[in-house]
Assembly symmetry: none
Homo-oligomer: 204 residues x 4
């Protein structure tokens, strides 16, 4: 996966790029997000500061690329079993946020990027849309099978899932066990008309 935030020429890119991303993750894990300074990453990567600044405009962009590399966003395999597929989707999301670096860095990152719409767009590209599309595919399969209501609000489902998981991880500190995963899946699968239709939403 090519770096999303690097401002470098096209892609493939310079020889020290991956060395730097590795170092960034190392520092992140060892010292935490606030201690992640460009100088620390440069030192850990055995690289000059300017080499980092040549390829990333800011600490935020660098961390975003470093996290993007460990962010799971793969396709949900078609198992023929809607419940199992959704459970897979939720587990993947939990996996992403169970990682300490991800949990503490992502919100800080997002907060820092909010005032920079252009970067925020790239951020959503890297951390939301790719994963969401795959999960949406699984949800659509469930609808086609008749297991889910045909007018399910797919985006809202995902906001609820990811939001609840991240909130627990970050704010309440409540456990992210199998229980939670199951509950989140059942929120969608158990009963009609669990979640409102898109039409209703649009009629707002």
């Amino acid at each position: 996966m090519a770096p999303v935030f690097s401002s470098g020429p096209a892609a493939g890119g310079p020889r020290s790029l991956s060395k730097i991303l590795d170092a960034a993750r190392d520092v992140l894990s060892a010292q935490g997000y606030p201690a992640l300074t460009i100088e620390a990453v440069a030192a850990a990567a055995g690289v000059g500061k300017s080499t980092i600044y040549r390829w990333w405009p800011s600490k935020e962009a660098l961390v975003a690329d470093a996290l993007a590399e460990i962010f799971r966003a793969e396709e949900i395999p078609d198992l023929g079993d809607t419940h199992a597929e959704l459970r897979h989707a939720v587990d993947m999301t939990i996996d992403n946020y169970a990682n300490e670096d991800m949990a503490t860095s992502l919100p800080a990152l997002a907060g820092g990027l909010l005032p920079h719409p252009e970067l925020m767009t790239r951020f959503r590209e890297a951390f939301l849309y790719r994963k969401r599309e795959n999960i949406a595919a699984a949800l659509r399969r469930g609808i086609q099978r008749g297991d889910l209501p045909h007018d399910l609000d797919i985006d809202l489902v995902q906001d609820i899932w990811a939001g609840t998981i991240l909130y627990r991880r970050l704010m309440t500190g409540a456990p992210l066990g199998t229980d939670l995963a199951e509950h989140l899946v059942q929120l969608v699968t158990d009963t009609p008309p669990l979640l409102p239709t898109k039409k209703q939403e649009c009629a707002q």
Copy 2:
């Protein structure tokens, strides 16, 4: 409300305390979280830096107290109407996160406090438990009225509500309209057995 993070002697505290909190909020609104420096607050409050350091151990603690003052956590009045009360609860939560300062600062704050359990506890005190207790009371009234399942997982409901709202505000940027509020309420009120019981969760 006495400052939660101030390390000062008992409470009541010195005459410049509220002046400082006001200044902190002013700077936050005017310049945003990254520009909120102790020096800027000191200057805005017409106070020496050391005066701030006397009462708060860090910028995080100061911001936390400043935000806590504008964080809505009042009691939900007993309206005799479960749906209306829950809607009130959700609206209050949306209100809290609609505020730009709150949305960008809270996650950064929480992320920064995660490695400091002691401060994290105080943080949850100020921003979660007070509000949650009031909402929990409303939910319990709904259960007693028979409008909600008797084994509703009250904490999970609140995680879902707050998580979804914060996630939309911070990550996806999706709107926090009346539609969302209504959906979140219906998630609880519409159907048995919408949300699993606590027992199930504990049996995890």
Copy 3:
């Protein structure tokens, strides 16, 4: 002597001022002018960089103050002997430039200050006028005694003296022995009308 280039409040000033000037001279002697970096001085003085920047606007100003402290500019005592007094004056000048730091730093400094008239004025204040006034007094005593032509161009004499000495030190590398001193004195004392009158000069 209060620092001339320090931009600090009045004088007397902060507790680390002289520590810094001492360190600057140490670095100058040990490593030379090009190696004199603010960071090196800060390290040698056991002081933060910003402490230096608080009091001096630039490396040039700092070096100027450091050199000013070792620059001899005392009064020429009235010996009743014109030749001896002038010899004293020339010896003092040679003394100033015999110092390696002074010889290599002063011209570089002056070159660097040429484009900044305001600083150049302060520079001349510190390194020329104080010394020149004392020497001028000696020359005027010589004129009153009848030992020197009454229309001697006092400024030109001093330009010749200092210029020749500095040029030898910096460019040709020729020795600054007693011979040179004596020659420079004799240039003025030996014969009428050795040096032109001021009137002639003004008539230019």
Copy 4:
């Protein structure tokens, strides 16, 4: 005139050599000595940095060569008139130092080269000896004509001339008018025994 400081193979040299020297002078005139960086010269010359480093070991060497090309050191024509010839010599020296680049760069250069005897030698070669020999020839003609004392210290005369001019240009800022030129010439021509003999000096 072949570059004195270039470390290139023999001479004649590569096609971009003069383009680089021209660019160096341009930058020097436009931005001044401190702003003359290798990168700036490379950019101005439309040349890669390494091309400059291939031919000159340092910025100092490059500037020295650039200045050497505009340094006047031609022969003094035999006019049969000692006073006129010396005046020619002094005017030539004034010309050299009246140039702003020369005045500010030469002292800085010389100061920087002082600790490097090998480079200092080459520097004197380029900026002193060539010119001095021509002026010395004029002085010797004056001695042969009987216009100047037979034991005139030729080196001292030149130190006085160049030193005074450079000192005025660099330090005092006093004007370098025709008056000064005339005074400097008269210093030598007016009276015996204006300047001491070499023998006396050597007996020091």
